[in-house]
Symmetry: D2
Subunit: 381 residues, 4 copies
């Protein structure tokens, strides 16, 4: 196999910049790939931060202006790890320059922005993906396999939660580094775009499209100091959001997210109830899948706690030995592996921008329903 | 202490007739009561069933017509354990006859029926209660104590589920003994009145009133053989119901119930997230309470699994020793103990008919919202 | 079916007197029995206690001298619920008088005492049983069924623990009511006879005989105030005991018990590892059985948590409905049901005195090994 | 800070070769180190394997003879990742050559071998460590902190298990790549050196020295095909081993390991019971620590499940954000970080060869006791 180097530029050196870079650096040690990522450039607004990051992670170069990155001929792929309000502009420029694009989720702040981005990458014909990484936690991928094999039968219920507790203090400011998620201008929305978007992406992947939604949103802390303006400003994001929905396959969905649930740091959970079997998973114990099969003999029937570490589990033949778990960061490695393998095969690998736009449309309907209290059909562009 | 005998007549010998009778028979062995229940009469439509039940449980007499029970002078209290469509008529007659009334939940099929019943018992001035027994599971009572002591602080979220899986088969008929819960004429509604009513009663007790709701209901199996008509008939009940709500205290609620969740037999769960602490409980492990206190030292902070068996736990000084759990049936014993103690003290003990009518009003709003898809204010009579 | 009344006298009104009496009183409400217990007499040394207990539980009479009980012609069965140092004497007298005997565990303080008791009941030909009640927790009975059906295949490992934490304080006295378990004269031994005896009884029932043992015992608190002598006295019991053993079937056993394990109140656990499957159970969640079957398809293989409440589970058709758990006290009801059913069938129902003596012999070997530090063969009388 | 490169040669490219190499490659991305590992050479007997490994992981060179590695002047540190029967010879040579030595556990096949190795590194004055990596799982390190702070008080009990199920099939051969652990010549012992050694290392670290032991060992499958001789040969290792022990601090220990426990792949568990608090952990959910504090208010007292992901947990400020777990491989990264930090500070960092030799002495006593059935004092060299 001849390997082809794909020179990657990572834009943004925050939490996601680190998570993605770690994945690029590590993927080749564990996966055999035809196309392999090369850490060509990293971009941060602060020259010092860019240089330090480049040195720590082994990037060949660093930049302070993302436009400069896109101009460079020695960059094949652009990874957008910056706040949501920059996704559209960078993606449009990168597509115009013919770059491969990997964009952190959510795709955009709004469905309108997302639509432009989908149009741009599809017009340019560039490979693209959005980092809904939880699809590639092995236990979640296993859930997908079991569903696709028909083990659950007709689906009746899908429920998901993403619970955090980090914004309960009224003293927490909004805006700026690390806190842009509280600033509606930068983030577009609160828990809906940040957390429920993950739940929706997984749900659509596992259970198909969402047809209509009815939501309730709340902002518990109405005003916070804004780090960028220096003043107390209204909080524009949703602190909490719950919605009911109907899927295209006739099943019922309930979704909830909040940053005001004491005791939960990043508790993404889902459960799916089918005619024959049910599945449940949560992010706090991401290496396990719970499975209940009603066709088991009645006296030994029970929820099975599957420790997803054996070699026949998705991705797990690449790692250690049975019983030894992997963690959060590996989901990114898997996404890199699959995406680059898709490049070798010349095939799109989900979630593409188009896939992510479907999630965006659900978020849009949820937020609209949260505002007006009525059921909203989900737009299907 | 002089004991006063309260001569009880149990109407209905189904599952609830057994559960209540067991409680009456057992309460005096474990609780010191000023008023004590005497098993005076049991009533079932079939003479053989009535006699057999009387003999098995030690009732002094048996009847086949509930009207006859109410006419009897030697009956002080009437316990209504019959299907929902009979609650109103029996309760009205019993109130008119000046009997103490204990009524199985839900209070009635509709809020209109419930309103008549509340008016009747209050006009008659008779002690009354509705068997929302889960309040008196020790772990749930402990939750109430912790909340009332302010341990949770401001409440942000309340969520509850009641999940079952016993009606998935399309071959299951509706109507008649054991299956009247599927017959809308007998039951009034499906999971809303049968299961969510429990969740709502507990929620109001723990978290205060519900102001508005938005619901989604579904009947997955549209037609079933009807045991009473002998024909395939439309199914009028809700097989599943989920709703969003806002509580009077500003917290957000999410509720869901279904009989189509594989792997769950009677999984009633609730979780409450407050500013300082959170609480969670479920019926499948009813002797445990989960508690998270954010004020714990950070390095040893975690969800605590409290095994509610020690003598300083609610009701538990009456039973065995630490580590030895009680079960489902004991919640009824506790309700009998508290209600009869209330008789001795001359005080009403909740849930009264009036308390249960508040739950009925929430159910009414939920079902209406399920039909028209809009938010409904909860009537506060 | 003609019912035959069996007039029972309960000797001892402590914790076990209550637990057994509750079982006698309740069994007929849930089980159809040919022989049924009648609460004929209760015996306590204090006349007040005896009378109060009789009144509370509905005994026809009360006594203060157990010898008087045995003399009475209207007593068919004697239930020994007194401290261990009285078992032998009462049992011998009761056997001589031809009474049915139910004896609280352990059978005796020593194997020598036990041997006399076995000889006595067998010579007298009276039905007899010892209250190793945990065999009849439905989850444990289910384990027995699964093993007997061969689901586990060859057994490699058996491990059991019984962990408590109630004697850690040095201020706790020994001796007298409620504390006789700390007094070696009354109890015979500490955790070995009190707790490990339970583990051993279950183990022999599930996994067959024990051939040899090697033990370690410890008394952490060497002296305690003695309530009977009024002085600080040496503590003669074992506070903790762990032992290794080999079963007759070639499997290895590890057993441990202590009253110095913070966080555990009555945590009896066992786990059995077989060639094909494994089973685990614990008393703190007694209504669940954990089961792992290696023959399950590899990707969905995991420990199953079986909620033992369905009607096809052992004993559970007699109680409530799926999902609603029973508790500790029900194990006694089941033992009464089975023992009295054995009377109707004219068959011995284990654990008999002879069965309990096998456990006694293991305890004897364990204590001897704890003293001299060598492996001891278990005597097989 | 001036960084000093430490040129590492990894000898052995099996499972541990990969795990260690991953740690060297990754540590600098997450930890700030004064001394940093450089992947200078890798050694495997097969030239093709050595080259492929070097290429995949980015080693500067590769070798096929470990002696050649030690001769090279451009190697500062040697990491021994080969089977146990080679540890002594390589370590002695590396010490003689003045190399820093990192040796996979167990230190050696026997205490005699280990003693030579300790003498060699101490005579040479070279920094040294043994890869008992579980000390550096954050939850285990947290346990150490809590114990050292005195939170548990006097310790009564320590128990540990390491349960696997991968050698149950009689068809599994012994010897050669991947199966040398079944070959007593290569491994020295079975579960004792492979698995219990981990348990003992942690135990000594957390609870101090072991004074005496009494063990039971078993080889369930007596003969297996040997891959090196091509014949069916007796199995010389222990398939299972359980032992009782006494610690220097007066606490009692129970340890068990087996490869015949269906349902457990790598279930290393420990639990420690102290006067005030208890701690429990297991490897299958390595990111959690269970903690029970008896000093908690009684009504909210329970086992706490601590999700060890917050930034104030050991090592966790280096990784992601609260709620996002790390996995098995990170324990090696932490050991590299600590060991190299020790180089910068000029201080030994445990477990050193001397620390590992203490574990070796316990293993030696355990195996001897397993042979003769008596209690053995643990040698303290």
């Amino acid at each position: 196999m001849t390997r082809k180097d794909v020179r990657v530029a990572v834009i943004g050196t925050g939490f996601m910049g680190r998570a993605h870079t770690n994945a690029y650096r590590k993927v080749g040690n564990f996966f055999e790939l035809g196309h392999r990522p090369v850490l060509q450039a990293v971009c941060a607004r602060s020259p010092g931060a860019a240089e330090a990051f480049a040195q720590k992670w082994g990037f060949a170069s660093h930049e302070t202006d993302w436009r400069r990155v896109i101009e460079r001929d020695d960059i094949d792929a652009v990874d957008i790890c910056t706040p949501n309000d920059t996704h559209r502009e960078i993606a449009l420029a990168a597509a115009a320059a013919g770059k491969i694009i990997l964009c952190e989720k959510p795709l955009a702040r709004t469905a309108a922005e997302g639509a432009e981005m989908v149009a741009a990458v599809e017009a340019a014909g560039v490979p693209n993906t959005v980092w809904y990484n939880y699809r590639r936690v092995p236990a979640v991928t296993l859930a997908k396999q079991l569903i696709d094999e028909g083990k659950l039968g007709r689906i009746y219920h899908y429920r998901a939660q993403f619970l955090q507790d980090w914004t309960i203090s009224e003293d927490l400011p909004q805006g700026g580094a690390g806190l842009w998620r509280l600033d509606v201008g930068a983030a577009g929305s609160g828990v809906t775009g940040d957390l429920l978007a993950h739940c929706i992406d997984t749900a659509i992947w596992l259970n198909g499209g969402v047809s209509k939604v009815s939501a309730m949103t709340e902002t518990f802390v109405k005003e916070r100091h804004h780090n960028l303006t220096g003043k107390v400003e209204p909080v524009g994001i949703d602190d909490a959001c719950a919605f009911l929905c109907r899927f295209d396959n006739g099943s019922l969905g309930t979704f909830e997210s909040t940053r005001y649930a004491r005791g939960h740091k990043a508790l993404y959970t889902f459960e799916i109830n089918g005619e024959h079997a049910s599945i449940a998973w949560d992010l706090h114990d991401l290496h396990r899948l719970s499975y209940f099969d009603h066709r088991d003999e009645s006296r030994t029937r029970g929820w099975r706690s599957i420790h997803v570490t054996d070699g026949d589990m998705p991705y797990m033949d690449k790692w250690w030995v049975p019983g030894l778990q992997i963690g959060y960061e590996h989901s990114f490695v898997h996404q890199v592996a699959d995406f680059f393998d898709g490049l070798s095969r010349g095939e799109a690998v989900g979630p593409t921008f188009r896939d992510a736009q479907i999630t965006q449309q659900v978020c849009e309907a949820v937020l609209a329903s949260g505002r007006d209290g009525t059921w909203h059909d989900v737009a299907k562009d």
